[in-house]
């Protein structure tokens, strides 16, 4: 069988990132293929967020990050959508959801009102993520799950080739998380972007990801999801004695976490 033709690939070759003397990432070689969901897993401080920032060009790095687009799908720089882990903005800021959309889509200052075009595009994309009713709500008053949807909508607005999600379900309750993930896979099956997902939640990873990259400052292993999430690999990543723990409902929709021998749960990002 011939391998499926990919419209584009993101090739990461021999990438390393330093912060002063400290090496945060080294010898990273990985491919992120179009249409696939690639999960990036690893313990705190493994450099997962740093890898996303390098792809976005927001931190300096050595090595190469190449974007290869199949000839029949046009040329040019890739459009990269990014959903950060959390927004640390002032929750009391007078800013509505529509303001937030207009800030990034219209030329003249938002203080003169929202352009018809920016309002229309906000309405369209919000409806697509099932958040049309949030358009006039203050940004600071949204729940974690609602805010994630807004950020996702904004990242999807410009039809990205690649979507980077940093801990999309942190700070979201369990039912919200299941909803968000189901919804994400629905959106993903409609559009053919590649999805790179940082997650601590191995149940999310095993349910949604096609491929897994296990990272701890270097690549521990990468490959198909089921082959990768083995006790041996988890141990190499999280330390000896690591195992999967399950909590939440017993119907298989609960969380699974890689847990280190110390018993410290890996919840927050790096």
């Amino acid at each position: 069988m011939t391998p499926p033709a990919h419209r584009h690939t993101l090739e990461i070759r021999d990438l390393s990132v330093h912060a002063g003397e400290t090496e945060i990432l080294s010898g990273i070689n990985a491919d992120i293929r179009c249409g696939e969901v690639t999960a990036l897993v690893g313990p705190n401080g493994a450099g997962k967020t740093t890898l996303l920032l390098a792809i976005l060009g927001l931190v300096p790095y050595q090595g190469a990050i190449r974007f290869c687009r199949a000839a029949e799908h046009g040329e040019g720089a890739p459009r990269i959508g990014y959903v950060p882990q959390r927004l640390d903005f002032d929750r009391n800021a007078p800013m509505k959801v529509i303001d937030f959309f207009a800030l990034s889509s219209q030329r003249y200052p938002v203080v003169f009102g929202h352009s018809a075009r920016s309002r229309r595009s906000a309405e369209e994309i919000l409806a697509r993520v099932g958040a049309a009713q949030l358009i006039s709500r203050p940004l600071g008053k949204l729940s974690g799950g609602e805010l994630q949807r807004i950020l996702l909508a904004l990242a999807l607005r410009d039809n990205p080739d690649i979507l980077l999600l940093d801990e999309p379900v942190s700070g979201v309750d369990l039912s919200g998380e299941v909803l968000f993930c189901d919804f994400l896979s629905q959106i993903h099956s409609e559009s053919r972007f590649s999805l790179l997902l940082v997650s601590h939640d191995l149940s999310v990873v095993s349910r949604h990801a096609d491929r897994v990259i296990c990272l701890n400052r270097r690549i521990i292993c990468q490959g198909g999801t089921t082959e990768m999430l083995t006790p041996e690999n988890l141990e190499a990543m999280y330390g000896s004695g690591a195992h999967l723990v399950s909590h939440g409902p017993a119907d298989g929709r609960g969380h699974l976490h890689g847990r280190a021998a110390s018993g410290q749960e890996e919840e927050k990002g790096d």
Partner: protein, 285 residues
């Protein structure tokens, strides 16, 4: 030349403001200066508060202390050295902030004390300087010259033009820097240019309300507007309205009460803050 440009404005004000306090020419000058300064300061204050940069603008205000002293020492007009030094400090703070792991308020705190210490050292060595400083410490709106008024008008135009181009991007950076960068916003350039614009507004507004109170002119209207506004549009225009109203009410009240103009203006702004805070409290219950 400055006077001939402003003359029509003064005579128009005679018709628009048929009140006792607006009759003397020095009062007309003060009102016109306030009409230029207040909206510029309030407009710059909206992103300033969004960025949590109130302390930064205070540090720039206090750098004027040193700027004025340097001007007197060199025999240059203190206004020029004050603006130049304010711009320099703004640029230096932004540069250092971006290259250290220290928190922004620590960096600003270090600069804040350094510029004041430098100012005091220079002033204490030059005996005649203290009197000269009074006008800068407390502001001297009633003694503002026609040239200064024109300069303030230019400032309003410049701030308006800058915000017209950069407002959206600056507000986006305030929400999430990395997110703004991923949307192609030139974060570093905007941070520095906004810091310089704030420095320009602060050093110009010192003539109106003085070093000690200048931050209030930027921060208080924007803070009061936040109490009642839900979106950017209403927050911005409410800040401008509160800034201009407190300016005019403050000038009028100071005329009749014989109080310091700058302080009276800031008290009116503070009153607006108190009222809007009460309104906010009421709307919650």
């Amino acid at each position: 030349m400055a006077h001939s440009l402003l003359d029509p404005l003064f005579s128009a004000m005679g018709h628009l403001l048929p009140f006792g306090f607006a009759e003397p020419l020095f009062m007309k000058r003060a009102i016109l200066a306030m009409l230029f300064i207040a909206p510029a300061a309030a407009a710059a204050g909206v992103p300033l508060v969004h960025f949590r940069m109130a302390f930064f603008s205070d540090a720039i205000g206090h750098s004027a202390f040193t700027g004025v002293a340097i001007g007197v020492l060199l025999g240059v007009h203190p206004l020029l050295t004050m603006v130049a030094f304010g711009l320099f400090v703004a640029w230096a703070i932004t540069l250092v902030k971006g290259r250290t792991e220290l928190s922004p308020d620590t960096v600003i705190g270090v600069f804040f004390s350094t510029v004041i210490a430098l100012g005091i050292a220079v002033i204490s060595a030059q005996k005649g300087l203290t009197r000269n400083l009074q006008a800068y410490l407390y502001g001297d709106l009633l003694a503002v010259s026609d040239t200064e008024i024109l300069w303030m008008g230019l400032l309003l135009v410049a701030v308006g033009a800058y915000l017209f181009l950069a407002f959206n991007k600056i507000m986006l950076i305030g929400v999430h820097e990395g997110f703004a960068k991923s949307m192609g916003v030139p974060v570093r350039g905007l941070e520095i240019s906004f810091a310089l614009v704030v420095a320009l507004v602060v050093t110009t507004a010192i003539r109106a309300v003085g070093i000690l109170l200048v931050t209030a002119l930027l921060v208080v209207p924007a803070a009061a507007a936040r109490n009642v506004a839900r979106g950017i549009v209403s927050a911005f225009w409410a800040a401008i309205a509160i800034g201009v109203l407190s300016g005019l009410l403050g000038i009028a009240a100071s005329y009749y009460l014989d109080t310091a103009t700058g302080a009276t203006v800031v008290l009116f702004a503070a009153a607006f803050f108190a009222i809007t805070a009460l309104l906010k409290g009421l709307s919650r219950t």
